[in-house]
């Protein structure tokens, strides 16, 4: 029974069995009813050497196409500094559990405190938790938070300009949690403020969830939304793309009560959907309703500044069914990832990365519309590094043709509309190639 992960020799096993007062390991399972015992081997592959494992994944990798990525839809192809990958691979961080023993977990606790600080500064909000799974589930948690805060009201409004993936997850949580989700209609690509006012007047609204940037890449003007929500005693919740907030008006500046979203845009590799990082920030007034872990500053016996998990009375291991959420493991290491990323880039670096994407997206939008084959779907609306085009040929045809040339052209929203995103990683040549493909249709 020798294997590289299993240190036991037969002599070790014999000695351990003697201490346990049994002659065979099977005797330690004497309490398992005979009919439940699994006989034989699982129907899974045979043992592989390390080299074979590597080759197995190389072969799988060969079946994936490496593409120039103009897809966005909430997840963006950004560069990752080598120093970030290095720091998060340090096994003292990587192989640690939740920091339940603060005396030997100051590394984890301190980076969470740094992360919370940076997310508060990015969103402008008062408080951040230690992370959520992703932007979709963070938004669902915000939905439940608003209902817990409202006590009796159990209706939540979500803008039609929210990305479908987020709305779908919110709707799933809401259905089982006993919350009604109603969609605020859109008008010319943005949330219909008049419709919102009418829906709020109907009453019973616990929360209002909007997107900034929205599903078309549009930066919406949320003037007056906070006041409308306040008037109806509903929480105003904004779903944001983290990296945008280096340049855009912050959720706090819009008067949001809760800011949520995905922080994948802070350099986290696309990795076919995860691990990413959900963030969740709120005002001081809501701190005891905030789900998840929170790290706070205190002093140790010797008066040194130290960090601990705090306000745990909100959490599932203390309050069980009365907890604000069931979240336990979150995305700790990814919080370290974006903390190191933001440390390296700084505010100036984030602005620069935004500027490159913005320049690229506006250039590509001009080029694509100049082909006569596409138009900007909402030509009067502002966008940063992602935009929506209406296509004469089916959007799926553009995507298929571009794929043949090694380009992921964007994400189809429906038959004749697609979104396209540009970051610092795509070159002018890549954009010109995509333009040629569209022109040739």
């Amino acid at each position: 029974m020798s294997h590289r992960y299993l240190p036991h020799t037969q002599a070790d096993i014999d000695r351990m069995l003697r201490r346990c007062g049994v002659s065979r390991i099977e005797d330690l399972y004497s309490d398992v009813p005979e009919q439940l015992l699994f006989k034989g081997e699982y129907d899974i592959p045979s043992e592989m050497s390390e080299r074979q494992v590597r080759e197995f994944f190389n072969t799988l990798g060969d079946a994936n196409r490496q593409l120039v990525c103009f897809a966005g839809n909430g997840f963006y192809d950004h560069d990752t500094p080598a120093a970030v990958s290095y720091v998060i691979s340090r096994s003292e961080f990587l192989t640690a559990y939740t920091p339940y023993q603060p005396e030997i977990s100051q590394g984890t606790l301190q980076y969470i405190f740094e992360y919370q600080t940076m997310m508060c500064r990015l969103t402008g909000m008062d408080v951040s938790n230690a992370s959520m799974y992703d932007g979709t589930t963070a938004t669902a948690e915000a939905m439940m938070m608003s209902v817990a805060h409202a006590r009796k009201r159990n209706r939540v409004l979500v803008s039609a300009t929210m990305r479908q993936g987020v709305t779908d997850v919110v709707a799933t949580y809401a259905r089982y949690h006993g919350v009604t989700v109603d969609i605020i209609p859109e008008k010319d690509g943005v949330t219909d403020a008049d419709a919102l006012a009418g829906m709020l007047a109907e009453g019973n609204v616990a929360g209002v969830i909007v997107a900034q940037r929205n599903r078309y890449g549009i930066i919406e003007d949320y003037t007056g939304f906070s006041e409308k929500c306040k008037g109806a005693k509903a929480l105003f919740i904004m779903n944001c793309v983290a990296s945008d907030l280096a340049v855009l008006k912050t959720p706090a500046e819009w008067g949001a009560d809760v800011a949520v979203g995905d922080a994948q845009s802070l350099g986290i590799p696309l990795s076919y959907g995860g691990p990413y990082l959900g963030f969740m920030c709120c005002t001081n007034a809501l701190i005891r309703k905030l789900p998840g872990r929170i790290v706070g500053k205190t002093v140790d016996n010797d008066g040194r500044r130290v960090f601990v998990l705090t306000l745990q009375a909100r959490e599932q291991h203390i309050r069980r069914e009365k907890a604000t959420s069931n979240i336990c493991s979150n995305q700790g290491l990814m919080a370290l990832f974006v903390t190191v990323y933001m440390s390296l880039a700084g505010a100036e670096g984030l602005r620069e990365i935004n500027r490159q994407g913005e320049k690229g997206a506006h250039y590509l939008a001009r080029q694509l519309t100049s082909t006569g084959k596409t138009t900007l779907t909402f030509p009067d609306k502002p966008f940063l590094n992602e935009f929506c085009i209406t296509t004469t040929a089916p959007a799926s045809e553009i995507i298929t043709k571009a794929l043949e040339q090694g380009i992921l052209a964007g994400v189809a929203l429906d038959e004749h509309r697609m979104t396209i995103a540009v970051t610092e990683l795509q070159s002018k040549e890549d954009m010109d190639r995509l333009t040629e493909i569209v022109k040739a249709l």
Binding site: Y5, L6, P7, H8, I13, M16, D31, P33, Y42, I44, P45, E47, F57, T59, L60, N64, L67, F75, A83, V87, R90, S91, F93, L94, T95, S105, Q106, G107, E114, G124, S128, G135, T136, G165, T172, Y173, A246, K249, T250, A252, S271, G274, D300, R305, V308, T310, A313, H317, N326, S329, Q331, M334, S343, L344, A347, E352, E358, K359, E424, K428
Partner: protein
């Protein structure tokens, strides 16, 4: 490591004008006024201004104030802190997966879809289930998803009277919390003196209002619920489903499958049983498996294998809905598949028995000093109720803190809630008998210290990067960011 010198926050290392990362200019025309002024940030963004060497040194020194499985023995009960193989890390950062956008057309991600499918099949075989979804991000997320499957099942039968979940009093806190999030009421069932679920207490609770019974097997005391066939029958006769909390699956590898025990729905913590790193609290993964007849309720998207050997993403009309962005923590899933392939069918069956052997070895070696409330064989973990000699006033918390001085992580403490001084120990199969012997020696030494010098044990730790924090102050006056 010298915390006196390296104890600063990254914000305290900032100097205006420093940068640790630059991107190349794409030399495209500047865009002026694309974003109107009233949509732009007003408050200047304050992030640290630091160079790369400073950042790397800062976080490297911080890591020295941390303790991971690679640092030392981590007998944290119910957390299965086994070794995290390095090849898993290597393959999970493979460039051919790292750059894949989740909205890439299926034909361009066949390798990724195959990865998902292969892991899904392997977990189904190991769990004795028909199908798994890998989409949930963590154990608690899996519990929630599993309960949604159960609700979708009852709704599909037109039975909307089932609003309760029964959980044992020894259950993990996430069980009742997940049930509450899923919109279900919680009923607790008592444990018997031997730590297993009291079937007589359970029987009258099972009526037409019960959607599911959630069990952990072996339970949080490390004891196998040997009445499980009877419990499964009672639950099924009452029209409810039986849910398996896979937090304690490790000792069952190669021994018994939840599906064969009569469970209908289960989750697995890949970051426990399947060796993916805990990352200081995530990212984990909480795949959910179901028995035949429940597959259609799993969340979408799912990956199917077509007759021609290709793979597709599908959405089932009866699916409970979407519970995550895409296919879960894909990078974590890759690590778990690498682990399964590394062990293979020849070795994976030894994991459970060796984990169980290690736990029993520690238990038998310490039960003359520590109070073993429930005699008999345990599985992968067991619980002491503090020291036998309570006269010294040394508590489980004191013992846990003293262990830190000796270079060990503490066991899980004050859980399960069945005893006042719970000290829950889980060694895992990747620890050698030498490590266990050293740990046993230290535990015995601490028991002796408690008798000879109790004040020293009560004031532990003495030897860690920082001493005991003032939790009360932290909660009373929360400071949750640097200002």
């Amino acid at each position: 490591m010298n915390r006196e010198f390296y104890g600063k926050l990254i914000f305290e290392l900032s100097k205006p004008g420093r940068r640790g990362f630059h991107v190349a200019d794409n030399r495209l025309p500047e865009v002026d006024g694309a974003i109107p002024a009233n949509l732009q940030r007003e408050q200047p963004l304050q992030l640290p201004e630091v160079d790369e060497p400073t950042v790397v040194r800062h976080y490297t020194n911080m890591s020295n104030n941390n303790f991971g499985v690679d640092t030392g023995f981590y007998p944290l009960g119910s957390c299965t802190m086994k070794y995290n193989p390095k090849i898993n890390e290597e393959v999970s950062s493979h460039h051919a997966f790292r750059n894949l956008h989740p909205d890439t057309p299926e034909m361009a991600v066949q390798g990724a879809l195959k990865m998902y499918y292969e892991l899904q099949r392997a977990l189904s075989e190991i769990g004795g289930m028909a199908e798994f979804t890998l989409n949930p991000y963590a154990g608690a997320h899996g519990e929630l998803t599993g309960l949604m499957v159960i609700r979708a099942y009852h709704a599909g039968r037109g039975d909307d009277a089932r609003v309760k979940v029964i959980v044992p009093d020894s259950a993990h806190g996430t069980n009742p919390a997940s049930a509450a999030v899923a919109g279900l009421d919680i009923v607790e069932v008592k444990s018997r003196p031997d730590g297993t679920v009291d079937v007589d207490d359970l029987r009258p609770l099972l009526d037409g209002t019960v959607a599911a019974v959630m069990m952990t097997n072996p339970n949080t005391l490390g004891i196998f619920e040997k009445n499980i066939p009877e419990i499964a029958k009672l639950v099924h006769d009452a029209g409810a489903l039986l849910y398996y909390d896979g937090a304690n699956l490790n000792p069952m590898l190669g021994v018994a499958r939840p599906g064969d025990m009569g469970f209908d729905v289960m989750h697995i913590n890949l970051h426990k049983t399947f060796s993916t790193p805990h990352g200081g609290g995530g990212p984990g993964a909480g795949p959910v498996g179901v028995r035949a007849g429940l597959e259609q309720y799993l969340p979408y998207p799912k990956v199917v294998k077509n007759a021609d050997g290709t793979y597709s993403l599908v959405t089932d009309g009866e699916s409970l809905g979407k519970i995550s962005s895409h296919l879960g923590n894909f990078g974590v899933e890759m690590r778990a598949l690498a682990y399964i392939l590394s062990l293979g069918k020849e070795n994976i069956g030894n994991v459970g028995p060796l984990a169980t052997l290690g736990a029993n070895y520690i238990k038998e070696s310490l039960k003359d000093k520590y109070l073993l409330p429930i005699e008999g064989v345990c599985k992968h973990e067991f619980v002491f109720d503090g020291l036998i000699d309570k006269s010294t006033g040394v508590t489980t918390l004191n013992i846990a803190k003293r262990l830190l001085d000796y270079g060990y992580h503490a066991p899980t403490i004050y859980f399960p809630l069945l005893f006042h001084e719970s000290l829950m120990i889980e060694p895992t199969e990747t620890e050698s008998v030498d490590t266990l012997d050293d740990f046993i020696e230290v535990m015995r030494k601490i028991a002796d210290e408690a008798a000879t010098d109790p004040e020293m044990v009560k004031s532990a730790p003495h030897n860690t990067p920082v001493s005991r924090p003032d939790d009360t102050e932290a909660a009373l006056h929360p400071v949750v960011k640097y200002e």
